[in-house]
């Protein structure tokens, strides 16, 4: 299947499937590895982190696209993309934190410490830059952002599930903790490479 020849709802589905499986942000593009390894000890916290990232990436996709089109491109300052996007993402995360604290204290307390941590999640910056590099329009950028974030959620929850079981396993002493997690992540990445070519550009 090809994204470019598809239209309407099929195109949306193809972009999401491509972002979740074929171009999984962690297991294929290797972005956002830090939270992937750091917050994947329990499924519960992994889901919290995944949901928070989904929220921020969706908003960041829209805002960075607007900043790129209406500020940077108008003034011919595309080379300031990275620093401008970091500024946007940091401000956005702060704002989202304040907004959630006021409007939804339950969601705020369940996301807890993960919300401010997202500022430094390079997957957010990565998606924003990929959106621009691929020349997506605003709607496509948003869909790609949500799809990528769902891919992050899927990968981190899968790893957390495996790690919870491995805790009880008979792992050799020198491999316990991070070494076996890295090996597991590598094997998951190889498995996800199998999706390559399912959807063409």
């Amino acid at each position: 299947m090809s994204i470019e020849s598809a239209t309407g709802i099929v195109k949306i589905l193809l972009i999401i499937l491509s972002a979740v499986f074929c171009n999984n942000v962690i297991l294929v593009q290797f972005l956002g590895i830090c939270p992937f390894l750091g917050v994947s000890r329990r499924v519960e916290t992994a889901v919290g982190m995944g949901v928070a990232v989904t929220f921020v990436i969706a908003m960041a996709s829209v805002f960075t696209w607007l900043v790129q089109k209406f500020i940077l491109e108008q003034l011919g300052l595309e080379y300031l993309q990275t620093i401008a996007f970091i500024l946007v993402i940091a401000a956005l995360v702060q704002f989202v934190e304040m907004f959630l604290q006021k409007s939804s204290p339950t969601l705020y307390s369940s996301l807890g410490v993960y919300l401010p941590l997202i500022t430094t999640n390079c997957a957010v910056l990565g998606v924003a830059i990929i959106n621009i590099n691929k020349g997506y329009d605003l709607g496509t950028a948003l869909i790609n952002g949500v799809g990528t974030a769902l891919g992050f959620l899927l990968a981190i929850v899968l790893l957390a599930g495996i790690r919870e079981r491995m805790e009880l396993g008979n792992t050799p002493k020198h491999l316990r903790g991070f070494p076996i997690s890295l090996i597991t992540a590598g094997l998951m990445a190889i498995a996800f490479m199998g999706f390559t070519g399912l959807i063409t550009k």
């Binding site: 604290q101 204290p105 008979n170």
Partner: protein
């Protein structure tokens, strides 16, 4: 070199930063949430190890619960009397300070050559081993020595040595995480000032204990007779120490024929 090429982008970025900053300042006023200032104060008085020994997710969660009245001011066993006193001052209540406690492993089976009833080669975890026909050791009260407590301890204070969990009394903060982690209930919290402890929980008859382990309490009652201060008694097939009365003379430790009473003033053998 054209300086405007540098200054203009810098000014634009500065302007963007200023706009975001102002927007955030406005948002923080608009979305301001009244928080009890005592939560931050209580959090300061807590140790901050986030061990979870109190039963809450971490020190922040306990601080919130204390201020909300859902947890006692002395809810943190790690901080002990010092932090309980500070928190009580913040909350404006009196506190009865808990005396500091320490974990104590009530078994010396591995030292006493406790008999095995089966070979176990499954998952190296006490909970899993205990699920298989009550564990591979013939004494149903014994420490299984697979280190579930060692992995649970947030302070690196309990270690399995030669098949027996050993508490490092210097490192132990008395949080009690190991007590709930142990599937057999071998670990008990005892007052830190206690000088002796009965390192066995087997309540079976003396003969039955003798058959499986040389370091078990056989409930012979010698310790009770030798003790001059009414601090140790045999009750229900096991010696029990009354820490209030114990003078720490060490007579019971020396008199115990199976050496199941241990002294904390010197290193156990």
């Amino acid at each position: 070199m054209n300086f405007t090429d540098i200054i203009v982008p810098a000014l634009i970025l500065a302007a963007m930063g200023l706009i975001f900053g102002l927007a955030l300042a406005f948002a923080s006023k608009k979305f301001h949430v009244e928080k009890d200032p005592r939560i931050a104060q209580v959090r300061e008085a807590l140790p901050g190890a986030n061990c979870g020994g109190c039963g809450f997710a971490g020190c922040d969660a306990l601080a919130g619960a204390i201020v909300a009245g859902q947890a006692p001011v002395n809810g943190c066993t790690v901080g002990g009397a010092a932090s309980a006193k500070k928190i009580a001052e913040i909350m404006g209540v009196d506190t009865v300070a808990d005396e500091p406690k320490v974990a104590f492993v009530r078994c010396q089976g591995a030292l006493g050559g406790v008999k095995l009833k089966a070979d176990y080669s499954g998952v190296a975890d006490c909970a899993a081993a205990a699920d298989v026909a009550g564990g591979p050791i013939s004494c149903r009260f014994a420490c299984l020595g697979m280190g579930t407590c060692e992995r649970a301890c947030p302070f690196d204070a309990i270690k399995v040595k030669d098949g027996l969990a050993v508490v490092d009394r210097e490192k132990c903060t008395g949080c009690g995480v190991c007590v709930s982690a142990c599937p057999r209930g071998v670990i008990e919290m005892i007052p830190k000032k206690a000088s002796i402890g009965v390192a066995c929980r087997n309540t079976d008859s003396g003969k039955a204990v003798r058959e499986i382990c040389s370091r078990g309490c056989i409930a012979c009652g010698i310790c009770e007779k030798k003790c001059g201060s009414d601090a140790i008694k045999v009750e229900g097939g096991i010696s029990k120490v009354n820490y209030e009365n114990c003078a720490g003379c060490g007579t019971s430790v020396e008199s115990c024929p199976t050496k199941c009473i241990v002294s904390f003033s010197k290193k156990p053998e």
